[in-house]
């Protein structure tokens, strides 16, 4: 009896020990993130203002702003989304629902998993060769967007596949048993039921893309740019224009990088303020992903 009690005490002690280790480990990550945010906020908060958001970069730190940077980030991300979503989702659907399981799909599968691990600078080099030199798209928003699309394509494909795999096979059989074709099944069941997971994957991919610096520098984004891309709507017929796609650009992390590398202390503050905004954007996107996942889970559960 005494032995048993001793044993239980020892077991419980070990249990508590891990509780403490686990808690500490969790706190390390959390505290580091908080410190980072607080540090950024202490440095940058004084520079946050509408004027900061609506001004172009400048030689004078107190006049400098991030207008061209966030507009650039937004437009690049728009191109990224428009390219990566249809390509990635179509690939995911094909591989899960259409592709026969053979050595070819096995190779494609392994390659997609590998692509997710390729360093982003390598994508930059590929894009420089393909989009800038070969396709002659220039150092443009289009090039930047397509480069990031390549980068997040594996993420989108894998998220799509995961989401599709979560749909029970009995649902597919129910659809086929009523005489549906593959496309009817995909259109009416597979896509609607996997939308939550797919959207989550897309947003996680985009929130990674918004912070990417290396591949964007490689394809030749500018570090100092004091004008906006051409407007998409024009006063004359046909009232819209795609010229903006071909315009030079910069993005948030490059603007930050540029300021950090300046010797003046004031520019460091600008970098911190831009960092705060970039963090806010990323956290907002991740929050949206969590919300969407929650919302769609509630609607479709198995």
């Amino acid at each position: 009896m005494e032995d048993l009690k001793k044993r239980i005490r020892a077991n419980k002690l070990r249990n508590y020990l891990f509780l403490i280790i686990g808690l500490l480990a969790t706190l390390v990550g959390l505290l580091l993130l908080c410190t980072l945010l607080i540090d950024l906020a202490l440095d940058g908060a004084s520079r946050l203002s509408m004027k900061f958001l609506l001004s172009f970069p400048s030689r004078f730190p107190e006049q400098a702003g991030i207008l061209s940077a966030w507009v650039g980030s937004f437009l690049v991300l728009l191109v990224t989304a428009l390219a990566a979503i249809p390509l990635g989702v179509a690939t995911g659907i094909y591989l899960e629902e259409y592709g026969k399981k053979n050595w070819l799909t096995d190779i494609i599968e392994i390659n997609i998993a590998n692509l997710a691990g390729v360093p982003s600078i390598v994508y930059g080099l590929l894009a420089l060769g393909l989009f800038v030199y070969f396709l002659k798209l220039g150092e443009s928003i289009l090039t930047g967007g397509l480069t990031l699309a390549l980068l997040i394509l594996p993420t989108v494909i894998m998220a799509t596949r995961e989401a599709i795999r979560a749909i029970p096979n009995s649902i597919r059989e129910a659809s086929y048993a009523l005489g549906a074709t593959k496309w009817q099944t995909v259109q009416w069941h597979i896509i609607p039921y996997s939308t939550g997971g797919i959207l989550t994957g897309i947003i996680i991919g985009l929130s990674r893309a918004i912070g990417e610096t290396a591949p964007i520098i490689t394809v030749g984004a500018l570090t100092f740019i004091a004008f906006l891309p051409s407007p998409p709507l024009t006063p004359e017929f046909p009232y819209f224009s795609f010229q903006w796609l071909m315009d030079p650009f910069t993005v948030m992390p490059i603007q930050m990088f540029n300021w950090v590398s300046r010797p003046q202390k004031e520019f460091q503050l600008n970098a911190a303020a831009a960092g705060l905004i970039l963090m806010a954007m990323t956290l907002l996107m991740n929050g949206l992903a969590v919300y969407l996942r929650y919302k769609f889970r509630k609607r479709v559960k198995w």
Binding site: E173, A174, G179
Partner: protein, 256 residues
Amino acid sequence: MVAETIKAQTKDLNFFYGPLQVLKKINVSIPEKQVTALIGPSGCGKTTLLRCFNRMHDLYPHNRYEGEIILFPENSNIISPEMDPIEIRMRISMVFQKPNPFPKSIYENVAYGLRVRGVRDKSLLDEKVEKSLKDAALWDEVRDRIHGLAFDLSGGQQQRLCIARALATDPEIILFDEPTSALDPIATSKIEELIEELKNRVTILIVTHNMQQAARISDRTGFIMLGELVEFDKTEKIFTAPSEKLTEEYITGRFG
């Protein structure tokens, strides 16, 4: 007594999963507008046989049919490679072991088969949905919430919804794959009553692990073991005076 018509007939049907032969020379005739039950121990191939009738096996690789399943009156061979499985599935519908409604509204579940066939006419859809739900004895329970989610129904209601979904397209045969194995006794008896009513208008082929169920609702029973059809006869005969020793041993519970 009217001579009964045959709706479908298998002729030396073999089925292979890869190198493994799952069904061996099955010869069985399914009479029209009657209930035919397939019984046998787990893994004997009864579900595999059922799923040949609507070419479900075509959805997965390494499956191969041999022989014929003739569909009357036009004498077409269900499992011939020239036969389009989609056409077969439009004429022969299926109810599965576990209720598998779509995560959509009750209405959309029933209307799905018609939507697949390109029916857009709202009033026709409304009419068909109502009729099918009535035929599946579900209408009175769901009439005021047919646009509510199918997942909110109980298991037995979900299975009757799946029956309504299978009925909506006026199939010639309905295949039931152990439709009550996931249900409680009350829900089970409702489904059994329903099947007995349905046989007045449609040919029914049902796989069941429950011998009493086969005895209660079927007109014909086939006993399958290790991929072979041991005996096929009037249900009454199978359960009272089977000709094969193996059948007798199985129905008296000597193995299972």
